[in-house]
Structure formats: structure tokens, C-alpha cells
């Protein structure tokens, strides 16, 4: 039996507690009742979540409600220039949509604010700020392969321009595997080496960092073996490792939109490179010298079916890699295909598929071994007799097992004349073209860039189209440059 004093104490505690609760509630209530807010003042509403690329212009819309009639409306931005497009439509009204043109600063990225201020005829003023994420104005995507020993991988970064002397990977995104890079003109795409075949789409955020947006994965395949992106709506990718398939995909939506069965082309083939001409897709087939002939699959893109495989015995082994092209199209529509001759007794050479035709041109063969002096890797054509390849001076080190002695030298060749223009520049160091990197990228009407993965230095070199002068442009301190694409 509890004593009465117990209940008295209990009542006391309950009373004190209730008093405290009421007191706190009252204080909170007072805080909520902000006496500074005028219900008749203008109200501004705006949607959040806008984003724009640095240097570009974005329209931001505000909804203005002013019971006291708008007398003045102004806008300000934390960086860049903000202008109200329709001031006349707003002033003098009680309800309007204000459209602000926000022109971002080209050199400033990150989260910026656009603030609209409205004053009514009673002098009551309200402002509303909208956050805009300004992406760094990345124009180029670059891939570096960094690391030593058997621990190497690919690093991605965005560049505003290519006017650089040095490059490193300190602001790069680390990938979990070696990957080649491609572009649809808007984003960066990677095709990773290793099962399953994985293609990544990367966009550059406000800090210019490459961020994974979406992936396409083909289970069961060992890797994507070649990628050809036509535009933002269509691309093709072949997969290696037993699937005998090419997929058609949408780069913008990042989804597979079709498939091409290549199984009738043969087993154990590696799809070295692709090129699209009109409604025909040509796929270089590499059988590692098994047949002793060059093979190209011809695909009808209207039906996505393999039409035929064309062969030629004058060269063999269409050896390519994810990063390097061995097929190129001339301005007149002729397609040139390079054979390495590896693993066979055939010479390295270039075959032609003439414009409008889907067979090898029996009247054309450019014997690279005889003319250039060795087996060749990579084929890039920029018109007017301007074609580049790399010639191996030591086929035993084609795959770079001897890391001390790169064996490839860049040569300029003439496809029409079937002549060797010699070293691209005598001063150029040797490069590990087949085992590390090789590409040619036209950065402007005047300049073509290409990488050197050398014994003593990794760099991007420049070839001046007008003069033919070669000079070192960008030195990498963090590994060799495996890819360079334009993303804007």
C-alpha cells in the first residue's frame, strides 16, 4: 500500500513536467510566428535542380505573385551574367512568369545562385535564389593508363582545352579495369577490357570530374572488342569471347537497341575494328593467322544481318586493339584495311574495298612489309595523302614484353601511291604502339595529335597539317595517354 505522501510527490512531478512542456511549446510557437513576414509582400517561386555547362546560357523561370503590383524586378548571379528577358511583362502586374537568361562564366564551375528580387508599389520587397549547377566546360575527354608492374589501370579526366604542356592524373577518375574511350560528341564512353564486356557512359560534373552515368553490359563475353559510335543516337560494338555478336546501342539513352549475329563468320574470331559506310558495317576479323588470309565481315545495317565474309590471301591477321583503328575511309568512300601478317608467313599490307563495293579490290595491295620495312599496326587517314601507321622494327617485341625497347616508329604513308613517306619525324622516339597505345586525333583543321608511349617519356605529339612539322605538345607525368576524344 503506497503512502499518501507518495501520491503528493507524484502529482508534484507531473505538474512541474506539464508546466515545462507548456512553456517550451509556447516558446516554439513564438518562434514560428515570425512577425517580419508580411502576407501582402510579393511571393516568388522557382524550380530547383537546373544545371548548365560552363560558358553556356540557361533560362531560369520564376513565378511572381505580387498583390501590391510589381514596380521593380531585378536579378543577380553569383558568377556570370543574369538578365531578365521579359521585364516589361512583369512590371505593373500582380502575377507573372519572369524569365531569366543566365549566361555562365566560362571559367567558373560549381554551384552558382541566380537571385530574383521583386519590389511592389508599396515598397515591399522579396527575393528568391535558385541554385544552378554549372558544369565545367569540358571539351575533351582523356584517358591515361597509369601504374607499374602488373598493377595498371585507366584514369579519365575532362579537359577544357588542349593548350597544356603537362598532364597528370591527380584529378582523374580511377577505373577498375583498362578501358578504351569513345565519344558521341556529348559524353565519354569507355569499353573495358575484361569479362563481362562493359561499356560505361561518363559525364563531367561541375568539378570537371568524370562520373559514371550508366553502363551497358553483355554477360558471358570476355570484352568489347571494337566500338563505333555514329552519333548520339546510334552506335555499334562487337563483343569478343565466344558470343559472335555485335550490338547496336543508343549512346544518349545508353541501352541496347539491336543485335547482329556474326556466328556464321566463324568461331574463335576477334573483331578488330569496325567502320560504317552508308548502310553497311564492315568488321575486321582477326583469326590470329589461323587461315593465313585477311577477313572482313560485311553487315547490312538495314536488316542488321551478316551479309557475307570477304577474304583476301595477300595479307593476313587483321590485328587491332580496342584503342587503335586498322580500317579507315577515304573521302571518296574507299575503305582501307590493314593486315599485320602476324602469326603467318604473309606480309603486312593494306587492302582496299572501293567505294560502293563490298569486295576487296583485287587490283590494289599495299605491301607494307616490302615498302615500309616491317609489319605495321594502326591505320589513320586524314585526306590528301595524309595517312599514318606504325611500323615494327622487332616483331618479337610486338607485345612489349621487353619493356626497355619499344619497337614501333610512326610512318607517314600514301595510300594512293603506295609509298612510304618515312619516319613521321626522325626525332620521334620509338613507341609501344601495339602493347600500350596508338591513336591519331584531329583536334583542329591544322593539327593532328598522337601519343608516344616511350621508354623514357609518355607524351602527346602534334603534327601540323600544313607544314608537316612534328612537335611535342603535352608531356604526361602519370603514364601513357591511351585515348583522347572530343565531348563537346
Amino acid at each position: 500500500m503506497k503512502q499518501p505522501i507518495y501520491y503528493l510527490r507524484l502529482m508534484k512531478y507531473i505538474s512541474i513536467s506539464l508546466t515545462l512542456v507548456f512553456a517550451v511549446s509556447a516558446m516554439v510557437s513564438c518562434i514560428d510566428d515570425d512577425p517580419g513576414i508580411d502576407p501582402d509582400a510579393p511571393v516568388i517561386q522557382a524550380a530547383e535542380g537546373s544545371s548548365v555547362r560552363g560558358g553556356e546560357t540557361l533560362e531560369v523561370t520564376f513565378t511572381v505573385i505580387a498583390p501590391g503590383t510589381v514596380s521593380e524586378v531585378t536579378v543577380a548571379a553569383s558568377a556570370g551574367t543574369a538578365t531578365i528577358i521579359n521585364t516589361d511583362d512583369i512590371v505593373g502586374t500582380t502575377n507573372a512568369e519572369a524569365t531569366v537568361s543566365y549566361e555562365t562564366a566560362a571559367d567558373i564551375s560549381g554551384t552558382q545562385t541566380v537571385t530574383l528580387t521583386v519590389t511592389d508599389q508599396q515598397g515591399k520587397s522579396t527575393n528568391q535564389a535558385v541554385e544552378v549547377e554549372v558544369f565545367a566546360p569540358v571539351n575533351y575527354g582523356m584517358a591515361l593508363v597509369s601504374g607499374a608492374g602488373d598493377v595498371t589501370t585507366t584514369f579519365l579526366q575532362g579537359l577544357i582545352d588542349l593548350d597544356l604542356n603537362t598532364i597528370d592524373n591527380s584529378s582523374s577518375t580511377e577505373l577498375a579495369q583498362f578501358a578504351a574511350v569513345y565519344s558521341d560528341g556529348n559524353a565519354l564512353f569507355t569499353a573495358g577490357f575484361g569479362a563481362p564486356a562493359t561499356m560505361g557512359k561518363y559525364v563531367f560534373n561541375s568539378a570537371g570530374e568524370a562520373k559514371l552515368d550508366q553502363e551497358i553490359i553483355v554477360p558471358g563475353s570476355s570484352s568489347f572488342s571494337s566500338v563505333e559510335i555514329i552519333d548520339e543516337n546510334k552506335g555499334y560494338a562487337t563483343v569478343g569471347g565466344g558470343l559472335s555478336r555485335a550490338v547496336q546501342f543508343s549512346p544518349s539513352e545508353m541501352r541496347i537497341t539491336g543485335e547482329i549475329d556474326l556466328s556464321s563468320a566463324g568461331e574463335g574470331l576477334f573483331y578488330s575494328d569496325m567502320i560504317v559506310r552508308g548502310n553497311t558495317l564492315f568488321i575486321a576479323l582477326n583469326d590470329f593467322g589461323g587461315s593465313g588470309e585477311a577477313m572482313v565481315a560485311v553487315v547490312d545495317l538495314q536488316t542488321n544481318t551478316l551479309e557475307k565474309v570477304i577474304t583476301d590471301t595477300r595479307t593476313s591477321t587483321l590485328f587491332g586493339s580496342l584503342t587503335t583503328a586498322i580500317m579507315t575511309e577515304a573521302d571518296n568512300g574507299d575503305i582501307y584495311v590493314q593486315g599485320s601478317g602476324l602469326f603467318s608467313d604473309k606480309p603486312s599490307g593494306i587492302l582496299r574495298i572501293k567505294a560502293g563495293e563490298t569486295e576487296f579490290d583485287t587490283g590494289y595491295f599495299f605491301d607494307l612489309t616490302a615498302t615500309v620495312g616491317g609489319s605495321c599496326f594502326g591505320l589513320y587517314h586524314f585526306g590528301d595523302g595524309l595517312t599514318f601507321t606504325a611500323v615494327s622494327s622487332n616483331d618479337d617485341n610486338w607485345f612489349g614484353f621487353d619493356g626497355d625497347n619499344p619497337a614501333f616508329r610512326y610512318h607517314q604513308i600514301d595510300l594512293a601511291a603506295k609509298t612510304d613517306g618515312g619516319d613521321l619525324a626522325a626525332s620521334l622516339p620509338n613507341t609501344f604502339a601495339a602493347s600500350r597505345t596508338m591513336f591519331f586525333f584531329q583536334s583542329s583543321d591544322d593539327e593532328i595529335l598522337f601519343p608516344i608511349a616511350g621508354k623514357d617519356e609518355d607524351a602527346i605529339y602534334s603534327y601540323a597539317i600544313g607544314s608537316g612539322e612534328v612537335s611535342k605538345k603535352i608531356t604526361s607525368s602519370s603514364g601513357y595517354v591511351s585515348g583522347l576524344v572530343q565531348v563537346n
Partner: protein, 789 residues
């Protein structure tokens, strides 16, 4: 008449002799703690001998008066000599108490110590873990190794999955494993299936202990170990016993062992041991990807499939012990079998649904051991013939997703290889080992150890042959190895300082084939490499023991590195040179009654590290000599046992692995990575354990144990630390894994029932990037141990 005279003469002489032989010597052979040693060999001078009976009793009767030397010996104990004099008619009782013996590996005699303690306090820098305290627990060999400081075991999944062991920063092939002093790769498919599958064929209940040599590897372990060695000592109970254990745990895992031995009065002994292990390894995987109709990944959680593992082994042994001509002469035969489903690729990105490895082993051996075979000379000899047959089956064209569903078919090739494989390899090993220990003076010993082996392998793969047009595996491969070492051990200052100097020689001859332009060509390799080590031990006082060692260590290129492995698209490279390392160790042990602390520091400078230079198949990859590296580190272990019912143990290891390659040896064009921390290797890790043990809980003589242990590995980078944006580098994250268990032993110490939970907090566990290990698991184990009372 002549015959009759002779008969009487014999009777007379015999009678006289018998009259003089009325004395006797008898007694009991026991351990220092009073236990009897049945079967102990007791010798009187050099002409009489007997074996102690089941109560340890012996007797020599009908002796004439005179001086005698009685020698008692038994495997596992130090021989004991006693000089006695006896008069006619006297019956003398001489009880003989034997100390447990020390190992022959370090040749240090420490009276009154257990063998383990003697090894620990020997000259070698060694950590060891006794298996016996873990007989009641649900623990496997890699987990047991992981409890040691300086040792890191990285596993790619559950039971039987691929495993890499690191000792003070060196790992993989640089660490050699032995079974009772014999290189494990002679006995098990280490090269074909890896350490993980091979270690899984050694259940803890069939081990006596694991010795981990971290500094100079003892001469007695005859192998080219660059970065330390692990010697698994199998169980050798010198008593009649029968032990059965069985364990069932999560993911449908079963482990059962049987071990028994019988000694007969004649000195004949037979033993049988067997184990069976099986697991579905179907633990839950998180965040694995299924692919939708548009090719986009969708994250799911699903049980692991196609990762079943099963192995068994039966070993029979017979021979004699404690004979005048042999301490032991044993013949053994064992047969093992292994079934291992391959579930995914290296970084767990692609699941497989049918690929698997199989292995079958047959081992026969003859082992002879005699202490004091001649004056001051001990001899140990081993001869073994082993057959290891392995199969790699990758024949399906089905494509599986992580749920185990078939989602498509390839047009050619297997799940893993371009060709499809049904590869059968048949390897045969003939190995001999001779170990001789000669005591030049009471303080000086000379040790010789030689291991010679001849390996031959031939195989077939009709499926791959169909793809390549030729069965390359039918080309035979030969490897001959000779590893010899001589060590000189000398004591100074009454044994306070001990020096051990050793020279070693490694000879490697191989013949195989290289594939060039789809044609095979025979290649040969012949290599010789010397080695050297110097160790010191200083017993400063009864509490403090310090050790220092230096070794110029070598690892010869192994069979796959030098001759290639066509099934893995690796070509031969006969131009490889051996990996070498300068290994320095300095450490000390301070031991008081209830606590001890051990601190060891280490330094390694490794050259010509052999690394796989991978290129896309079917172009064949190749091993090359590339990086040089330095390793500095420190490790420490503390043990505290304030009361008999409480044991606390903790250790930690910090190791700093740095690249010391110039650009030429790194495969890069600059010295950017010189001095950089090597990636994908943990640099800080440790573990600890708390154990309570209480006897007489429910009944007199019973025992109740509770334990809790934790293992920690600090986050480390997948790729080079100096590369890329720091905020989102790929890492193997921090790990804290907790285990806890209880065990009750009753029925006169014959039966133990234990319950254990591993990874009890169900933490995400990774040893390798993206490769998930099991979450929380539950284990129940029953162990029965029967021996003569």
C-alpha cells in the same frame, strides 16, 4: 660318448653362467609429469634391448654383475642415458623420466620445455600455432595461420576458394609450404589449383602445429623460399587413441575427421587418418549485377551458386618405432580427391555455372629416422612417390547470371577459355630427402639437408585440341630440382649465444615447350643459384631472448613461370632469372610468468620479381622479371594469462611495401613509382582473442570454454596510391571481423560439443577487390577422443 661329453659340458657351463646371471634391472619409463610411455625403447649397453609395456614397465633379468649404461628413447622425447652398477643377485630399480624432445629443425636442446616452446626459443625467427587448442573449434588452416603476427591470408570466397598467404610482406609463390618438411607441391596440386584448395586438404584436427619461419629459412626445409616458409606438422600422438570429429555449419558445410593409432609391444605401429569436407558455399552476395533487356545492370542480392567444394583424404601408415636400428621406420599411403566448382572470375564480375577443377592424389612414402645412428650422428631419410592428376573442365557454352539462371549461349568457347577445355594433367613426382645432423662437439653441430626431386607431367585435352588443331598438352614436361644446404651451429657462453651459419644451393633443370606461330618447340632451362644465411640468438637472461638473422634468399622460377601454362594462355619464358631477396630480421621475446611480449622487425629488398605480363588471349601472356621492392615492418604479439581461466592474446603488424624499381624494371617511362607504396597489399592488420576456460562446471572433470576473437585489416588501395583523385579511389575497405564461440567438454574429457559464430556481426568481408567473403555463419562441432586410461 663324445656327443654325451659335449652335452654335459654345455650343461655345466650353462649352469655356471646362469648362476652368475641372477641380477636384474627393472623400472618404469615415464614423462616428466608422471605419465607412462608405453612402447619406449630401452637399451642396456649395446647388446640388450626391450620395449616398455603398456604401463611403461621394462625389465632386464639374468644379468651378471658389472657396469651398465641404460638408454631409454621414444619418439617425441629426448633420449636418456643412465649409468648403473649392479652386483650379483641384486635387483636394481631404475626409473627413467624422459623430457619432451626438441625439434630437429633448430637443433637446440632446451631441457624441460615443450617441443613448441623449444622451437619458439630456438635460433630461427618463427611463429607457431599449436593446433590442439583448436581441435574443439570450427576453424580451418588459413584461419589458423591468420592468427599469427606478420602473416596475412587473403581468400577469394569461402571454403576451398583461392587463397594467398603473405609472410612479412612477401606472398604468393614467394612463400613455400611444407608438410612435415616435404615441399607441399610435391604432395598436392598447389601449382595447378593453388594454395587454397591444397590447404583445405589439411583439417586442423589432423595437425599438430603450424610453424611459420619468417627470417632465415632453416636448412632442414629444403626449398627455394624467398619470403619465409610454413611447415605443417601432422599429428603424431605417441599413444593408442581414436579421435572423431564432425562439424556442420552454415552454407551446408560439413567437416569430419578420423584419426587413430595403435602401438604394439613389438614396436609395430599402425595409424589411419581421414577427413571429408564439403560445402555449398552458398552464402549471400550483395550488390551483384543482373542485366536487363536493354543491357543495363540492376543490383540484386542473391545466394552464391556453383561454388560447391568437396575434398577427402585417407592416409594409412604402418611401421616400427623404437628399434635399435630405427627410432621409426614408417611406410605410408594416402589418397585424396578434390572437387571444386569455379564460381566467378578474378574480380567477381562474371559468374560461371559449370566450370570446375578436379584433382586426385596418390602419395606413398618411406620415412626412416634414427637418433644416434652412429656416434653423434642423427639421420632422417624420406623417399616419396606421388601422383597428382588434375582436370580442368570448361565445356559448356551456357551463360549464367548471378542467380544461376541460364541467360544465353555462346557460339563457341567455354565459360572461361576461348577454346573450351577438358584438360587432364597427370603429374608424377619422385622426391628424396636426406637430413643428417652431426654433433661435432657438445656445442657445435653440423647439419646437412638435401632434397632432390624429379617431376614429369603429360596431359591431354581433346576438346582444346579440336579448337587449336593440335593437343599441345601431350608434350611432356620435366622438372628436376636439387636443393641442398649445410648449416653449422655453434653455442657460445654456455649456450647464451648461438650462431647458425648456412649455405644453400639450388639447381633447377626443366624441359618443356614453347608455342610460336601455333607450333610447339622444345625448350630447356638449366639454372643454379646459391644462398646464404647467418642467424644469431642471444639469451640475455631467463626472461629476454633476442634474435637476428640475415638471408640471401632465392626463388627459382617455377614450372608455370618458366615453361608456361597453355590452359591459362601463358607461354614459356626460359629466360627468366630467379627472384632474390636480402632478408633481415631482428626481434626479441620477453617472457614473464603470466605475460609475454614479442616484437620483431623486418627488412626485405627483393629483386627481379616475376610478374605476369598479360596480353589479350589468344595471344599468349608471359612471365617477366620486373619490379624490385623493399619491405620494412614491425610486428608484435602480447599474451597475458593472469589466471588459469583467462587467456588474452593480441598482435599487430605494420608493413610498408615500397617500389624500388627504376623505370626500366617497372614497365613505365619514368621513375614516378619509385618509392611508392605497392598497391593491393594490406599494410596494417592484427587480431586478438579473449578466452575463458572453467573446469568442474557441471561435473567434476568437465570443462567449459568461451572465446571471442577479432581480426582487423586497414583499408588499402586497389591501385597505386599516388594515382588518381583521392576522394573516390578504389579500395578494399576496413574490416573488423568478430568470431565467438562456446565449447563444453565432458564424459571424462572424451567428448566436446562446441558452437561458434564466425563474422558474428555479419560485416562485409573482402580480402580482394570486389570479391565478397561469407557473412555471418554458425558452426556446431562434436569431437570424441578416446584413449587408454
Amino acid at each position: 660318448m663324445k656327443r654325451l661329453s659335449l652335452f654335459f659340458a654345455i650343461i655345466l657351463v650353462s649352469s655356471a653362467y646362469t648362476y652368475g646371471q641372477n641380477a636384474s634391472i627393472s623400472g618404469r619409463v615415464s614423462t616428466t609429469d608422471g605419465g607412462v610411455i608405453p612402447g619406449a625403447y630401452v637399451q642396456l649397453n649395446s647388446d640388450l634391448a626391450t620395449v616398455a609395456d603398456e604401463k611403461g614397465r621394462y625389465a632386464f633379468n639374468k644379468l651378471t654383475k658389472g657396469d651398465f649404461v641404460i638408454t631409454a628413447s621414444f619418439i617425441g622425447y629426448q633420449p636418456l642415458k643412465k649409468s648403473v652398477s649392479i652386483n650379483s643377485g641384486q635387483s636394481l630399480v631404475v626409473n627413467l623420466s624422459l623430457d619432451e624432445s626438441v625439434t630437429q629443425l633448430n637443433e637446440v636442446t632446451v631441457t624441460g620445455q615443450s617441443e613448441s616452446m623449444a622451437i619458439k626459443e630456438g635460433i630461427a625467427s618463427v611463429s607457431l600455432v599449436e593446433a590442439k587448442p583448436f581441435y574443439n573449434r570450427s576453424i580451418n588452416a588459413p584461419d589458423l595461420l591468420n592468427t599469427l603476427s606478420g602473416v596475412q591470408v587473403r581468400q577469394s570466397g569461402g571454403v576451398g576458394n583461392s587463397t594467398e598467404i603473405s609472410i612479412q610482406g612477401l606472398s604468393g609463390r614467394q612463400v613455400k609450404l611444407f608438410v612435415d618438411g616435404i615441399p607441399m607441391d610435391f604432395l598436392l596440386p598447389v601449382e595447378e589449383l593453388g594454395i587454397g584448395a591444397s590447404l583445405s586438404m589439411f583439417p586442423v584436427n589432423l595437425m599438430e602445429r603450424m610453424e611459420v619461419y619468417k627470417g632465415a629459412v632453416p636448412v632442414a626445409l629444403g626449398a627455394d623460399a624467398l619470403g619465409g616458409a610454413i611447415n605443417i606438422i601432422t599429428r603424431k600422438d605417441f599413444q593408442d587413441y581414436l579421435e572423431i570429429s564432425t562439424e556442420h555449419s552454415s552454407f551446408n558445410t560439413w567437416r569430419s575427421t578420423l584419426s587413430t593409432r595403435k602401438f604394439f609391444d613389438s614396436g609395430f605401429t599402425v595409424g589411419l587418418s581421414a577427413f571429408y569436407m564439403a560445402s555449398d558455399n552458398n552464402y549471400m552476395l550483395d550488390d551483384v549485377k543482373t542485366i536487363n533487356e536493354f543491357g543495363n545492370p540492376e543490383s540484386i542480392s542473391t545466394p552464391k551458386f556453383h561454388d560447391r567444394f568437396r575434398s577427402y583424404m585417407v592416409k594409412g601408415e604402418a611401421g616400427v618405432v623404437n628399434k635399435p636400428w630405427a627410432d621409426q621406420l614408417l611406410v605410408s599411403f594416402s589418397h585424396g580427391d578434390l572437387y571444386d566448382e569455379i564460381q566467378h572470375n578474378f574480380e567477381m564480375r562474371q559468374p560461371y555455372g559449370q566450370a570446375l577443377n578436379l584433382a586426385t592424389t596418390y602419395n606413398t612414402s618411406l620415412q626412416y629416422e634414427k637418433y644416434d645412428i652412429a656416434d653423434k650422428l642423427d639421420l632422417n631419410f624420406y623417399l616419396g612417390y606421388n601422383r597428382i592428376a588434375t582436370s580442368f573442365i570448361d565445356t559448356t557454352r551456357n551463360i549464367y547470371d548471378w542467380r544461376g539462371e541460364i541467360i544465353g549461349q555462346k557460339t563457341y568457347g567455354g565459360e572461361i577459355t576461348t577454346s573450351q577445355n577438358n584438360l587432364n594433367l597427370d603429374g608424377e613426382n619422385l622426391v628424396g630427402r636426406l637430413n643428417v645432423n652431426y654433433k661435432i662437439t657438445p656445442t657445435t653441430s653440423l647439419i646437412f639437408n638435401g632434397v632432390a626431386s624429379h617431376f614429369t607431367r603429360v596431359g591431354s585435352d581433346p576438346v582444346a585440341a579440336e579448337f587449336y588443331g593440335e593437343d599441345y598438352f601431350q608434350n611432356p614436361v620435366y622438372v628436376d630440382k636439387l636443393v641442398a644446404g649445410v648449416g653449422l651451429e655453434k653455442e657460445f657462453l654456455a649456450g647464451k649465444i648461438v650462431s647458425h651459419t648456412a649455405v644453400k644451393a639450388y639447381q633447377f633443370n626443366s624441359e618443356g615447350f614453347i608455342i610460336e606461330n601455333s607450333e610447339s618447340t622444345t625448350i630447356k632451362q638449366d639454372q643454379f643459384q646459391p644462398g646464404f644465411s647467418q642467424s644469431f640468438k642471444w639469451k640475455a637472461n631467463k626472461y629476454l631472448l633476442t634474435k637476428a638473422s640475415y638471408e640471401y634468399a632465392t626463388r627459382m622460377p617455377d614450372r608455370i613461370e618458366t615453361l608456361g601454362d597453355f590452359s591459362a594462355a601463358i607461354n614459356a619464358n626460359p629466360g627468366l632469372v630467379p627472384e632474390t631477396s636480402h632478408n633481415v630480421n631482428l626481434g626479441g621475446l620477453y617472457k614473464r610468468k603470466v605475460w609475454s611480449i614479442e616484437v620483431n622487425s623486418f627488412l626485405r629488398r627483393v629483386s627481379d620479381i616475376i610478374i605476369l605480363q598479360a596480353v589479350p588471349p589468344p595471344v599468349l601472356s608471359k612471365y617477366e622479371n620486373l619490379l624490385e621492392a623493399s619491405i620494412t615492418g614491425i610486428e608484435s604479439e602480447v599474451q597475458y594469462k593472469p589466471w588459469h581461466w583467462l587467456t588474452v592474446r593480441a598482435n599487430a603488424t605494420y608493413q610498408d611495401l615500397r617500389n624500388r624499381s627504376n623505370k626500366i624494371n617497372s614497365g613505365v617511362s619514368s621513375d614516378r613509382y619509385y618509392g611508392a607504396r605497392l598497391p593491393n597489399r594490406p599494410h596494417l592488420f592484427g587480431n586478438g582473442e579473449l578466452q575463458f576456460s572453467k573446469s568442474n562446471v557441471l561435473k567434476r572433470g568437465d570443462q567449459f570454454q568461451v572465446w571471442w576473437s577479432v581480426a582487423y585489416v586497414k583499408e588499402f588501395f586497389r591501385y597505386w596510391e599516388i594515382d588518381g583523385r583521392k576522394e573516390d579511389k578504389l579500395t578494399v575497405p576496413d574490416q573488423w571481423l568478430h568470431n565467438a564461440g562456446i565449447a563444453y567438454t565432458g564424459w571424462n574429457e572424451r567428448a566436446t560439443l562446441s558452437l561458434e559464430s564466425q563474422n558474428i556481426l555479419d560485416a562485409n568481408a573482402y580480402d580482394n577487390f570486389r570479391v565478397q567473403k561469407p557473412g555471418r555463419s554458425w558452426h556446431v562441432k562434436l569431437r570424441l577422443f578416446l584413449t587408454k586410461p
